[in-house]
Structure formats: C-alpha cells, structure tokens
Symmetry: C2
Subunit: 344 residues, 2 copies
DNA sequence: GTGAAAGCGCTAACAT
DNA sequence: ATGTTAGCGCTTTCAC
C-alpha cells in the first residue's frame, strides 16, 4: 500500500523562498553572520523555525571541508578499558560539539589499516587506540591518517601519543607484594601483540634486577576473565604466594577460580589486577590494583586532537608522549604472605 | 618552522587526469560499473592505486543521499548494558559496511531530542536506546527521526521496537527464591524514568497477586554499584532473606557491602541480579541472574534498521515489538532460606 | 563506451 | 546589506 507519506527534507532553498531572500542570506543567518539586516534576519529565522529547518551537515561538510566528527579505532569494544577510553573521548568531544565514529578491529591487526583509513576519510581526525599493527606499518600509515592521536603506542612519524607507564605500575605492585613478605611471585601475562604487556615485562625485568632474592615466574595468559579462571592450576603449580595478573579482568577470573577451589584470598594467595576498572572496588575481596585514569585518557586524547585540529601550525604542542602514572590502589586481595607457604 | 609538507588530498580529478579520461569514467570504474571498456578500466585502476586514491565519502554522501552510517543514542555509555548493545550494533552494522556514530545523553532527558536530531541528520538512521524522554515527546519526534529503531521502548508512531520482557524475568527470579523457601523478599528498584524498571514493577505486581503469602518489600534504588553498596542497611532492616536487585551492577554492589558486614551470601541472604553481564559469572559468589541477550539485542537492532533502509516499502517487516525473554541463570548467590531467618 | 553537464545542500568570494 | 555565482567531490542523466 503506497509508501509512507515521505515529508521531503527541508532545504535551504525552501527557507529562502519562504523568507523571500536568497539562500546566501539564509546561510548567513544560520551561521550567525551579523552583516544581515536585523529585520531580514528575524524574517529568515521565523521561516526557518516554521519549516523546522536544520542545515544538512553533509552539505556543510563538503563546503567547509570538515565533518565535526572524529574517529576512534579500538581492538576490542568488549574490553572495559577501551569502553572507558571511548567514553572519555566521546564526552570530551561532545563538549566541543564534535561526535565520534567508532571502528572495532576485533583484534585483527590486518583489518586495522583499512578500518583506520576508512574512518579517517569520514572524519576530521583519528584516535588510534592500542593499535596491534607493527611499528613499520604504523609509521607508513601515519601520514595518511593525520591528524591522529595515539593511545598506548608511539611512532617516529610525528603524532601526539598518550602512554601509561605500565612498567612503573607493575613494579609498584610487585614491590607492594614484597613489602607484605612475599618471596615467590608469578606474573600472568597478557596478549602477545599488546604493547602494554611488553611494558609490563620490561618493568618486571627491572624489578628482578633490583630483587635477586625474589622468585618471579612468568605464566602465559591473555586479557579476559576466562584466562584468569583457567590459570588456577598454573598459578598453584608455580608455588607463588603473590600473583600479578595482567589486568583486572584476569584478576577477577583468577579470584573466581581460586574461590571455587576453596583457596582463600589473601590468606593463602595474594592477587593484584591492573587498570582499576569500576568493578575492582566491588569484587570479593576488593581488588588491589594499579589505577589508570582511563576515562581521563580518552578525554586527553580529545584535547590533543583538538589542538591538532585548531592549531594547524602545531608548534606549540608538547613534544614527546604524555605519560600517565598508575597509582597503587591497595585493597583487600593482597595481604601478608602466609607462614606455611612462605616457608615452602 | 613552516607547516608540515601537506600532501594535498587526491581527488577524482587527479585520477582522471592521470588516466587520460573524464572523472565520470573514473567514477564508473570505482563503482564497478561494467559499461567501461576493460582496457580503460584497467588504466583507471592503475592510476587510482598509483595515486593511492580513495573516493571522498562526504562527496559520495552528498551525491547519493546516504552516509552508510547509523547513529545510536544511549543514556549512559558507562553502563555495561548499553556498551554491549553498542557493541552488538557496531559489529553487525560493520558486517554490512555501515559505521556507527554515538551520542551519549548522560541521562539528561532534555538533551536527548537535540542529540537524536543532530545524529539523525548525519546518518541514514537512528537507534534510540532506552530513551528517557516522555511518550508524548517521543511520538512527536519520531517522524523526523525515521528510519528509527527503538530499544526498550515502544511508540505509537510506527517504528520497530526491541523489548526485553523484564516483567517475566523478574517474576522468574522471584519464583526461584520462593522455590528455595524464601518468604520475605525485597526489590531494590531502578531509576524512576527507566521504562525497564516499570516493567519489572508490573511483573512483581503479578507475582504478588499469585503469592499473597509472600512478603515483598519495595526499596528505593538506582542502577549502579554505589546504590547496591549503600542499600545494605535498608536490606537488612527489611528483614528479607531474598533480594532482587534491579540489575547485576546493583547486585554486585550489594554483594560487596554484605561481605564487608560479614553477612554470608547465600547462607544468610540470597541475592539476584538482572542482565547477566559478563562479570556476573565471576563474582564471589557467582551471581544468580536473568540473562538478557544484550549483544544480540544490538545486532537485531541493526537488522531491523537494515530492513528499514533497504525496503523503503516496509510492509514485509514484522508488526509490533520483538520481545526477548530473559532466561533464569541459577548460580551461587541464591540458596535455601536460612532456618533462623526463615522463622522471621 | 565515454564525455559534458547538471545537481546533491551548503558556504564564501565576488559583485552590486 | 544582499544577491549571483562558483565551488566542495562525487554520481548520474543525457548526448554523442
């Protein structure tokens, strides 16, 4: 039965006609150009409201060469860390009248380049979040992606970069455990391709150098609940009394697995996370972790992007990456090493 | 020192020039129009790759009257439920070559209309997720937002709607507790303006009608951790042995608060959540909840949207809202009512 | 099969 | 102060 009554979209021409002026004048009024006579401006505004006219953003974008939109590419939108970054970015950008377009590469590093390019073409800038692609590829791609802001990654190609000092954070967590009397530690590692995992590894190397007396074992891992949950056996086999999980998710999985086995935390084993996602405050026991200002990271990403978009010269911008220091958040999942286990 | 070497963006004209053809021909080739001579097509393609040419999406959008982008408006991007919907939507849309633009209303219902309108103008369609605006406002806005898909909301104005049967789910949870011998229950309610909270309330009315012997108390609440955490006193004061939390977040907050007070779950009190967010499997104890296929909801939202965008006639589309049934997920946070407390 | 030209909806330089 | 006109980068008739 016929198509629904399609109320044709109102265009600038309709308003011009109704107000009895040229579309140029309508455009001027809509953009707050004060060279228009007050009477006429009022007439135009009246016509616009009456017709419920709103300028077509696509038309404006083409004319102005900007979309007031920025893109973000994340490896996995189901990861709370990236969700928080997205949120911080989106909120901050909205404050300045910008919107965000999202692209999820699903951890497929080969897709990243294509997604990034596509997103960039539709937007005024791109935030690349923990890209999994190689350094070489990133550097090659960078020029075509600019203006671009990097999160948890750097590149020789000029681009602002926001980093988290995971190395420092993991060291603090390890020191925290040592301070509690633990001498046998284990690190549940993250994804191979993750740069942030590499930084943690580097930090732990330093830690080992400073603590030759401590036994620190490296265990294979990943970045989600399941990994933590499935690592119970490996953790127990390691004989460690203090476990550094790659992130809060892994820690929560581990906590859950240990609980099922009747192993008490922190009495029998201490567990630490990383990131301090909101959930970390509400686990049982509450999770000792290294707090990363994730939402602020997203917010800062926008601010750097905004600088890029505004100051085309880009000489006032800070050189080198901005580094965020994680803050140790001591809660109840860590405690003194148990007497029995400490001995053994 | 001078602006960076700005490699001017390659346009269709550049390719046309290089290939020695008109831009019309380049356009044809780029769009897979087979009326172009094979030899020429090859020449054009060569020129395009050599120049690394990619059609400008804004130009295409203006010419084609479509952006291959859909918008989603959510009340709060920090809520895992909306994050999961966004994710499902984004993944499904990406599969069909569409991108998603996000708008977060921060629970400010007055902002919703503006955000929705803005987003809609930049996109080919809009997904309105649990809108907080009034029925009247929604209905008035609907025509200008079409094509539009609603989540957790319906409207008389014609628009596909995806609903979750929260009423049924909460009844099942209540029945589950009754089956475990609980006779004193409490419901930690959600946000006032939330339609899904209203549905739960309706479901509980039905439950009460069927179980006059059960004492069911209504407690004020909200939708996040803090609310659950702060409700411990109210819950204890109610004397309930079984607590139905508005959602998993509230349940987790409550779990955490109860643990701090030394109250055992489920021995002393049983707790249920709602949604079955990924975390619910990994709380201590694991959380009994009503599982909602959230990601699938987002995916379905795209499918309905796709139908809308493709079949302009829209007569084959299913009438009335699609309803998703939550599924009871019995885990360890619920157990038999304790003898002492059961007595009253 | 291919080019010339119109047009998508808007902004801005240029006339007047 | 306002209208006319030329783009922005592309697709698509319409001639040839």
């Amino acid at each position: 039965m016929g198509r629904r009554a399609t109320t044709r979209r109102i265009g600038i021409a309709d308003v011009a006609l109704k107000a009895g002026v040229s579309h140029a004048t309508v455009s001027r009024v809509m953009n707050g150009n004060f060279t228009v006579d007050a009477t006429i401006a009022a007439r135009v505004r009246a016509a616009a409201t009456e017709l419920n006219y709103q300028p077509n953003p696509v038309g404006r974008s083409l004319a102005l060469g900007k979309t007031d939109t920025i893109g973000i590419v994340v490896p996995d939108l189901s990861n709370p860390t990236f969700q928080a970054i997205l949120r911080g970015l989106s909120m901050a950008a909205a404050q300045d009248g910008y919107r965000v377009l999202i692209a999820d590469s699903s951890e497929v590093s080969s897709e990243e380049a294509i997604l990034a390019g596509e997103a960039r073409r539709r937007c005024d800038g791109l935030v690349l979040c923990a890209p999994r692609m190689s350094d070489a590829e990133l550097e090659e791609l960078a020029p075509s992606l600019q203006p671009m802001v990097l999160i948890n990654r750097t590149t020789d190609a000029h681009a602002p970069s926001l980093m988290v000092d995971y190395g420092q954070g993991i060291q603090e967590l390890a020191e925290h455990l040592v301070g509690l009397g633990h001498t046998r530690l284990a690190f549940l590692a993250g994804p191979e391709r993750s740069a942030s995992n590499g930084l943690r590894l580097l930090g732990l190397e330093k830690f080992k150098a400073g603590h030759p007396e401590i036994d620190l074992q490296m265990l294979e891992g990943g970045s989600n609940f399941e990994v933590g949950h499935q690592s119970v056996d490996a953790v127990l086999a390691s004989g460690a009394t203090g476990v550094l999980a790659f992130n809060d998710l892994v820690a929560m999985g581990l906590l859950s697995g240990l609980h099922e086995r009747g192993i008490r935390v922190p009495e029998d084993i201490s567990v630490t996370g990383f990131d301090d996602i909101p959930f970390a405050r509400y686990t049982t026991p509450t999770l000792t972790t290294a707090a990363v200002p994730i939402t602020e990271l997203g917010q800062q990403a926008w601010h750097r992007m905004r600088d890029l978009i505004r100051n085309v010269p880009s000489d006032a911008a800070p050189e080198g990456p901005t580094v965020f220091q994680p803050r140790l958040e001591g809660r109840s999942s860590t405690g003194p090493a148990s007497a029995e286990r400490r001995g053994g």
